[in-house]
Amino acid sequence: MNNNHKCFTTDHQLSRRKWFKHLGVVGAAGMVSPAFAEAIKKKDKQVMFIWLDGGISQLESWDPKPNTTFGGPFRAIPTNVTGIHVSELLPKTAMHMDKMAIVRSLSTKDNSHSAGVDRIQRGDPKNRGVTYPYIGSAISKLMGPCEEGMPPYVWIKPLSGGFISKDAGFLGPKYGAIAFGDGKPPDNLPRANTVSKELDDIRKEFRAKLDLQYRKGRMPENSEAATAVFDMADKLQQRLDLFDPANVSAKDAERYGSWDLGRHLYLGRRMLEAGVRFVKVTSYGWDTHGDNFNGHLSLVSKFDKSFAALMDDLHDRKMLDNVLVIVLSEFGRTPRINGHHGRDHWPEAWSCAMAGCGLKKGLVSGKTNALGTEVEGKSHDIGSMFHTWFSALGLDSASLEYDNQGQPLPVAHEEEKAVTEVLA
């Protein structure tokens, strides 16, 4: 897709060379057993995965403990579901509680970002000497693209974009994420003005011939992957309207907020409507080791507005029947308030908020103790959430396996179970 030879913004380039570099890393790995292929073909379910990078404080969001030792300055407010309270920083989201499910019993293992981000997004399976895919790549593999043929896994994020093969792990680069840095398409995605449609078709034909040549003596999956990603780029070329700011009404811009999380959730909604299977939207800057409370006042208030606008739209368009919404970080934040009035990393007892397809509505599952320092009752590691999400999407994660070059691998930690209380 590198049709602009003057472009030097390499982060945004989906160059042929770059594609092939990624695609060459892994060969025939990661194929799902043919016996399951039909069973996992679920074309109508989608995912909106909102990643608050750094770690949102559960105490300033989904599991407030007001007026306790570690409760912080904020109050809890009632939601539109009797008996369920969230932080006062989420007044708009609180009015969507009747469509949501919160799990307050997460207890995971890693309290560092470097390990936590990977392990949480890969579902922390047993170590079998392979690198598991991120949830987006897993869904891309297990469910494939939607009927519209759009890329199955897109990642909308601040800063740079490009093709992120790392997410795919052993599945191979075909299942990586196409990242839209700052919510923009890759710089060289639009067909250059100097290239006519007819000329572009000739180029594509030429590229197809080169692909045929490339296949000789190589693993067929590599060239298939290359073809697939060129096709994805071709499809994206036809939907450049999704990225055009002129198509965002002033009302929508105001509803979602002008900050990047708001703009990106709006774009994410549009991507879902266009037929993207899995949309990840990342917001950075949630690692509030200092001034946590003023920080969350700013961050959560913005999240609240943007997220509520997304929920409004998904609900109004009846998309929640088919879209699974997940709000997650790599961990929560310490109950203890440090000297800089910050909260540090806390995997011991934290929360995940969800909504949409396959889930019960207006529900909280699990609980922490009065101070928020421990899960009371059964706790859940991230593997349980993977089972929960797969199940909500209609995938039988208990029996489904990846076929990694003959090595059967469970799609989620086999000793974990879904949080059945939240499943519809």
């Binding site: 007026n67 300055p73 109050r75 950075y284 800057g285 690692d287 000297g339 540090d344």
Partner: protein, 353 residues
């Protein structure tokens, strides 16, 4: 506002006379007018008083959330308090006993960030995250006036020396002077160095304001934020000539670890004392001559200081710091294998001439 004795005598260094460990972290501290009591606002919703024998009086459990701000009358033994759930209260200290004068649990709908008593002690002003400025009578708690501060979230406020105007600072690094009897904005002071938008986080804000005893100088403190999240930044104090509105000086720290100047007070017409808190373990008590560009005395062994109170005649100080080893990822246990809360050591210092 606490009016110090007018003097131009320079302050000397300090001598630690006592440390009292509170059972909770504290946000605010002020000495009563006679200097006999230190009044503290704590994170457990309690107001605590420590007398001049360093004994803690029974705490006042009236507030909810955090007691964020305290101010003591300069006329008598009374004090006001504001909490993070929007409540204001006013108390009198009579013969060592604390009596509630009034309590307004709904003074604001949001987190009260700062309160200030007028110099004549007739009025308490408050600002909160509901972006309202409100004035209440200290006599009975009745609301005198209110106005919106919709342009930005207010962070601190202070009456001008003549009580005719009120200075309100905000998150975006601006100080606005409002006419007390009308709420009309009179003029603004630029302190935008105190603000940064980092990713989607609004970081910083002017955290503290104080006037010199003669009313000629206004100082404000905060930090020059370099990042959100961790919130790193250099300490900043700006000093303005109150009459002309001209900025006289910006005193900037040297390390991004130093963080916010959370509190500052004038000792006399030329010197002020300030405390800072940055990355856990970092905190400073420093003394600044307004005619110099750097503090002339810095004490770095009090971690994460959030308040400083100046006693009568500026002869003693109280510093609200934080215990050491206050941070850590995961479940950091103490020697008894318990998950501990942090607390505030309160250091009482004598100012040596």
């Amino acid at each position: 506002m606490f009016l110090q004795k007018k003097t131009d005598q320079p302050a000397g260094k300090t001598k630690l006379t006592k440390t009292v460990n509170l059972p909770s972290q504290a946000n605010a501290a002020r000495f009563s007018q006679d200097g006999r009591f230190l009044v503290l606002g704590c994170m457990d919703g309690q107001i605590r008083l420590i007398n001049d024998s360093y004994e803690e009086l029974p705490p006042i459990a009236l507030h909810q959330g955090w007691v964020q701000s305290i101010d003591c009358s300069s006329k008598d033994e009374s004090f006001a308090s504001g909490d993070s759930w929007g409540a204001l209260a006013y108390h009198k200290i009579q013969r060592g006993n604390i009596q509630k004068v009034w309590h307004n649990p709904k003074a604001h709908s949001g987190w009260i960030k700062k309160i200030a008593l007028s110099n004549d002690s007739s009025t308490v002003a408050s600002c909160a995250t509901d972006q309202m400025i409100r004035l209440f009578s200290t006599k009975d708690g009745s609301k005198i006036r209110e106005w919106s501060h919709a342009s930005s979230q207010p962070m601190a406020l202070c009456f001008s020396p003549d009580d005719k105007t009120l200075v309100v600072s905000d998150l975006n690094g601006k100080l606005d002077e409002f006419v007390v009897h009308s709420g009309e904005k009179k003029r603004s002071f630029d302190a935008s160095i105190f603000y940064k938008l980092d990713r989607i986080q609004d970081v910083g804000g002017v955290r503290s304001i104080a006037f010199s005893p003669d009313g000629n100088l206004m100082a404000c403190g905060g930090c020059k934020p370099s990042t959100g999240g961790f919130v790193q930044g250099m300490t900043i104090i700006k000093i303005f000539d109150w009459n002309s509105g001209k900025e006289l000086k910006t005193v900037q720290g040297s390390s991004d670890n130093d963080g916010f100047v959370h509190d500052l007070r004038f000792l006399n017409n030329k010197e002020l004392v300030a405390v800072s808190s940055g990355q856990p373990g970092n905190g400073k008590l420093f003394f600044l001559n307004v005619e110099e560009n750097q503090p002339y005395h810095t004490v770095s062994n009090y971690p994460n200081c959030h308040a400083v109170a100046v006693g009568k005649d500026a002869k003693k100080l109280a510093i609200v710091a934080t215990n050491s080893n206050s941070s850590g990822n995961g479940k950091v246990l103490d020697k008894e294998k318990k998950y501990p809360a942090n607390f505030s050591p309160v250091h009482f210092l004598e100012l040596l001439s």
